[in-house]
């Protein structure tokens, strides 16, 4: 070996774009880096270090040194390459590779990864959902609401067949509680529809349109206060932006699972998606409970029976025989449980003086 020539690593050299290989060694010669054939001395390719590209280190897979003429020198001798790069102030194998080495410090990385993962799930996603809800322009819920109602009118619903007087009673009661909502009565619009196949139901659209079906009014059998209680529950859903929140949370969770899918494999990804579905149901049950409590508060403020909505659940139990308990697979809390929670909360709300009435 010539005195000015320092060997870096042994490997193979390829001409540009060819699978033909020549056994070679990588040497440094007069400030240049060159590939020299085994047993020869005439360089196959060479250039200043700043002109060659050295592939980054990953584990101990082969490294490629690409010369400006497109030819390649490939070697399994990672350490030789790293020693040379470090000596030339090019940082050796790099920081990411340093982190990845199987040393005791990986325990710390594992712990940080777990802690961060938990934090993202616990606070990161909810915070992002809040930001998304905040920055959603009002036009989006409006369009969503309009479109949904139009679609339902075209398919399931037909105009309400209730007598005008009955509708007025309900609308008056509704106006009393809507006025108490922080958004004001103008934020809500009550619609009466014949539910058709949908049957007895009441729901809120994200833009503040509320729909109550004739079948629900008939089921109430003249108990206007109860219907108002149900509508107060729907106002609660609108105030708390439940539908937007649900949409963003599902999107956020799906995104997270997709991002780590490559690192956990497709089967585990499936398991995570199933688990995510169960978690979404728990949020849905929580949203129902929140809306129930909001109903109690609004009804108490308006001077109605705060537990009016509990009568509605009693009616459901009686008419539909729904006595099921809450379980992990339901979107709504179990009816008996809901009734109990509402009655408890109503006692708390009416037991304390309402600051808004003073």
């Amino acid at each position: 070996m010539a005195s000015k020539t320092a060997a870096i690593a042994g490997g193979e050299w390829h001409p540009p774009g060819s699978s033909r290989s020549v056994e070679a060694r990588l040497v440094e010669r007069g400030g240049e880096i060159a590939a020299v054939p085994a047993g020869g001395d005439k360089p196959l390719a060479g250039a200043g270090l700043s002109w060659v590209e050295v592939s980054g280190r990953v584990g101990s897979i082969p490294r490629r040194v690409t010369f400006p003429d497109g030819s390649i020198f490939e070697t399994w001798d990672n350490d030789g390459i790293d020693r040379y790069l470090a000596a030339r102030g090019r940082g050796g194998a790099g920081f990411v590779h340093w982190l990845e080495q199987f040393r005791l410090r990986l325990v710390v990385i594992v712990l940080i990864a777990f802690a961060l993962g938990g934090a993202v799930y616990r606070w990161g996603v909810p915070a992002l959902v809040e930001v998304a809800v905040w920055t959603t322009p009002p036009i989006v819920p409006e369009l969503m609401g309009e479109g949904t109602l139009q679609a339902l009118d075209k398919t399931a619903f037909s105009p309400s067949k209730l007598p005008e007087t009955r509708r007025k009673e309900i609308a008056d009661g509704f106006a009393r509680i809507a006025a108490l909502s922080p958004r004001g009565a103008g934020a809500y619009a009550l619609n009466f529809r014949d539910g058709g196949i949908i049957g007895p139901n009441a729901f809120a659209l994200p833009d503040g349109s509320l729909v109550v079906t004739d079948q629900l009014v008939e089921m109430a059998d003249g108990d206007t206060e109860m219907i108002v209680g149900v509508l107060a529950h729907e106002i609660g859903h609108v105030e708390l932006d439940h539908s937007l929140r649900q949409f963003y949370r599902a999107a956020g969770m799906t995104g997270l699972i997709m991002l780590i899918a490559g690192d956990v494999g497709s089967a585990v990804e499936d398991v995570l998606v199933q688990g995510g579905g169960l978690l979404a149901l728990s949020y849905s049950r929580e949203a129902e409970a929140e809306a129930d409590r909001r109903s109690v508060e609004l009804m108490a403020k308006a001077g109605y029976d705060p537990a009016a909505i509990a009568r509605f659940f009693a009616l459901i139990e009686e008419k539909l025989g729904d006595t099921s308990d809450t379980d992990i697979l339901s979107t709504h809390p179990g009816t008996p449980q809901r009734k109990k929670d509402i009655l408890d909360y109503a006692r708390i709300v009416s037991g304390q003086s309402d600051p808004d009435l003073q």
Binding site: S19, G59, E100, D263, V268
Partner: protein, 363 residues
């Protein structure tokens, strides 16, 4: 590790050579956990670079004739590809949410765009893969992808799985016949008979699963009927066996269909690879044991879940080692001679900078 770590020049003898996977679980563990950590820290942006490191590790440890494969994609390319697909997806969903009349629009657009994205993704994956300094290429178009994946998928669903082997054959031929290496073609033609032999075993496994579920339904028949007729008539005590049966049924369904699918996949792999020829004369071979493959896949998932993901690197390395160990090539003639003549074709290089990874599809 110094010079003795350098590869032996490709053996001059032709004949049969198995592929070897040289990755180590401990080494990959470090790469994996740092990938996970940085992906979380950067809110997912690093996931593109994580994919590059993961693939470089796996390709770089897949060794044939003493030389490894290589993965050349750059993180930024993958990130741009992902952002484009994500933006399209979000835009479609917003339109669908805002204008319910167009609720079916995303589905229609996806059906039209998917074949194009699949073909593009396959081309990308092929072009960023090289062996001995020569890149692969993929020349399949969206039409073939539509027939192989969407039509084939629909066909197997509509016929309750009976025509699945036909769909598998279309997919294998689309993938195999459009792959190029140094401008030379691959050809593959899995026999329907071989595919159906694999399929029959899987079909029987799935039938056993359905049989168990039918038994569960029969056992609970006395409870199910009144529940449908008068909801809420069951006391909570009566509901317990019903819920238990539902959970057991779900697990049985998941397990039997999972096993059937894995069994079938291993059979298709063998049938496809073993009928693949490169350049009309070099024959590929796959001889994975269906039972062993299924066992590895299922135990991998269980171990990964019970160790909160920490054994995932071990599981991934274990699977790669097994499948590559059972894959090989029979070269006709002199190997050194063969590889001294293969040149990269212009179309496979340079174009990658214009390409984006349309749709992630394992190559």
């Amino acid at each position: 590790m110094s010079l003795e770590g350098s590869p032996q020049p490709a053996g001059q003898a032709g004949g049969f050579h198995r592929i070897e996977f040289t990755g180590k679980a401990s080494e990959y563990f470090g790469i994996w956990i740092v990938n996970v950590l940085l992906t979380i820290l950067t809110l997912g942006i690093y996931s593109a670079w994580a994919k590059v490191r993961r693939n470089r590790y796996f390709y770089g440890n897949t060794v044939l004739l003493g030389r490894s494969f290589e993965y050349h994609a750059r993180g930024l390319q993958i990130l741009i590809g992902r952002l484009i697909v994500l933006a399209g997806f979000v835009a479609l969903n917003v339109i669908a949410a805002v204008v319910p009349v167009l609720a079916l629009l995303p589905t229609i657009v996806v059906l039209i765009a998917l074949p194009w994205l699949v073909a593009k993704g396959l081309r990308f994956s092929a072009r960023v893969t090289s062996y001995r300094n020569v890149r692969f290429d993929f020349v399949g178009g969206p039409g073939g992808a539509f027939k192989a994946f969407i039509l084939g998928g629909l066909l197997s669903v509509i016929t309750l799985g009976i025509l699945t082997p036909l769909a598998s054959r279309w997919a294998a031929r689309y993938l195999g016949q459009n792959l190029r290496y140094g401008g030379k073609a691959f050809e593959t033609d899995p026999r329907l008979g071989a595919l159906y032999r694999s399929w029959l075993v899987s079909f029987l496994i799935a039938l056993v699963g359905l049989g168990v579920i039918a038994l569960l339904v029969l056992a609970n028949f006395s409870r199910i009927v009144p529940m449908i007729e008068t909801p809420g008539s069951l006391s909570p005590e009566e509901q317990i066996p019903l819920i238990a049966s539902m959970v057991i049924g779900y697990i049985v369904l998941f397990a039997t269909f999972g096993i059937a699918g894995l069994f079938y996949r291993a059979g298709v792999r063998n049938a496809t690879w073993s009928t693949t020829l490169f350049d009309g004369q070099h024959r590929l071979l796959s001889d994975v044991s269906r039972r062993r493959y299924t066992w590895i896949a299922i135990s991998n998932v269980l171990v990964t879940i019970f160790t909160l993901g920490l054994m995932r690197p071990w599981a991934a390395v274990r699977m790669a080692r097994y499948t590559w160990r059972h894959t090989g090539v029979t070269f006709t003639g002199d190997v050194g001679e063969l590889f001294s003549r293969i040149e990269e074709q212009g179309s496979a290089i340079g174009a990658e900078f214009m390409d984006f990874e349309g749709f992630d599809f394992g190559f």
